[in-house]
């Protein structure tokens, strides 16, 4: 399987920067997520995680540094978190860091993701 | 809608209606390059009724007048990065056999007097005199004479083939709201 590297774009739509590495299990999604076809964009990311879990079976370190995501992106983010939670349940090693600027609303949103998925997420304020 | 605690009675419906009666595009807010680009493109799309000449005219007039708003508005806002941006209004409308293009912005009274004088001169001239006036002003501008650079308005009048409808409404002792409206006929475009 291959790494995923997507360079963020801030034009009519906002594409987040994505870096998924097979060798290290390090994954990051950062920037802004507001896409023309949200599900289509996230499908290969979900497929990558699925394949990594099934074949590599290594640890996964996820860094989310999203300064903005719209509601349809949030659905896909929950799909990712659900997948990570299931992997963890089956004994996989999963670390998730979520970076946020110091607004209550964003903190709330992370807390809701935790509640929604049951996954432990480290909340890290951005400097 | 719930009665507001502000001093203005405002109905978005009336506003939309007022705007949308014959209005193709209307924008009020900070004017910068990207807004000019996107509104310019938008104007090209909405006036695309097969009359390329009218469309080109509107676009030329838009570029001249929007630039004036952009450069000379006295009402400005500060961007997050600290840049000052002029605020203004751009409206394009469609009425039967013509389009209208209207710009509006707050100006300092002292700045606008020469502009109004210029508009009055422009409106008093026939097409040939207007062309002569443009040549004369261009020569003066090339010689670096102050207050002579405003060929834009002459160009607008020549392109539109109609007078400049101007309106000045005081908003304070020093400032007024200045707007220019031009009609562009759909037919008779040479």
């Amino acid at each position: 399987m291959n790494d995923i590297h997507i360079k963020g774009v801030h034009e009519a739509y906002f594409v987040p920067t994505v870096n998924f590495e097979v060798a290290t299990g390090k994954c990051e999604i950062e920037g802004e997520s507001y896409l023309e076809e949200t599900t289509k964009f996230y499908a290969p990311l979900l497929a990558w995680i699925r394949e990594y879990i099934d074949t590599v079976k290594g640890p996964l370190y996820f860094d989310f540094k999203l300064s903005y995501f719209n509601t349809s992106s949030s659905k896909c983010l929950v799909d990712i978190l659900d997948m990570l939670k299931n992997y963890q349940k089956k004994g996989g090693e999963v670390t998730v860091n979520w970076y946020y600027d110091d607004s209550d609303e964003e903190l709330e949103e992370i807390e809701d993701f935790i509640m929604e998925t049951g996954l432990q997420i480290n909340k890290i304020p951005l400097e | 809608m719930e009665k507001r605690d502000d001093k203005y009675d405002f109905s978005l419906y009336e506003y939309h209606n007022l705007l949308h009666q014959n209005i193709l595009v209307s924008y009020k807010g900070p004017i910068d390059e990207r807004i000019m680009t996107v509104i310019g493109e938008n104007i090209e799309i909405v006036t695309n009724d097969g009359n390329d000449k009218a469309r080109t005219k509107i676009f030329k007039i838009f570029m001249e007048l929007a630039q004036n708003v952009w450069l000379y508005s006295a009402e400005s806002c500060k961007t997050i990065s600290g840049k000052q941006l002029g605020m203004g209004t751009l409206v394009i409308g469609e009425f039967g056999n013509y389009y209208t293009f209207v710009t509006g912005n707050v100006v300092k009274n002292t700045d606008i007097e020469p502009v109004i004088e210029k508009c009055e001169i422009i409106n008093s001239l026939d097409r040939d005199s207007l062309r002569e006036y443009r040549r004369e002003q261009r020569r003066l501008a090339n010689q670096g004479k102050p207050n002579s650079g405003n060929i834009g308005l002459i160009q607008v009048a020549l392109t539109a083939e109609s007078p400049l409808d101007i309106e000045l409404t005081p908003v304070s002792d020093e400032e007024s709201f200045f707007s220019i409206a031009v009609k562009i006929k759909k037919t008779n475009c040479k």
């Binding site: 349809s72 | 209606n17 009020k28 209004t89």
Partner: protein, 177 residues
């Protein structure tokens, strides 16, 4: 707005940014950038207005009855967006044409959202987020997000137009504090 004279009312109505026309991707992107970068010097407030704008403007593109079909397909919705600046808050409003049948469920949804506490609203968002896309009742997180971001109720109004259709207005306040 045929003449120069009629344009002046725009200075006296607290409008910070307004737009009427086609809600296509390019204009939405530029308006979003204006909001993000120029609305106020408080980037937190700008971001809130920006988030609300993205959710509500998208509804106009998709659902406005009035459409511009020059770009082909179903075309893009036409509507109005206004941000007004008051002493202690911004007011963000959108308006577009619609039919009664289409809009009644949306208004019921607003009532429902307005009746909920913040905690309930968050619970509701979690619930909606887990509904599969395309399922009836799902895909409507936008309004919940608007209420949570604004921390204020969603006001709405429906006005009958001369052509028998309706004009639907949504309005929320974003406190400056």
């Amino acid at each position: 707005m045929e003449s120069a004279k009629e344009t002046k009312h725009r200075t006296t109505d607290n409008i910070a940014i307004s737009y009427t026309g086609v809600f296509d991707n390019e204009i939405l992107s530029v308006l979003a950038k204006e909001i993000e970068g120029t609305l106020s010097s408080d980037d937190k407030v700008n971001k809130k207005v920006f988030k609300i704008f993205i959710e509500l403007a998208q509804n106009i593109s998709l659902y406005s009855l009035e459409r511009d079909v020059t770009s082909g397909g179903d075309g893009m919705g036409v509507g109005t967006m206004i941000i007004r600046n008051f002493d202690t808050y911004y007011e963000f409003s959108t308006g577009n044409k619609t039919t009664k049948e289409n809009i009644i469920p949306v208004m019921e949804k607003c009532d429902n959202i307005n009746s909920m506490s913040r905690e309930k609203l968050r619970e509701y968002r979690r619930l909606q987020r887990n509904m599969p896309a395309g399922q009836k009742g799902g895909g409507n997180i936008g309004l919940i997000q608007v209420a949570l971001t604004a921390s204020n109720p969603i006001e709405y109004a429906l006005v009958k137009c001369e052509d028998g259709n309706y004009f639907y207005i949504v309005s929320v306040r974003i406190n400056k504090d």
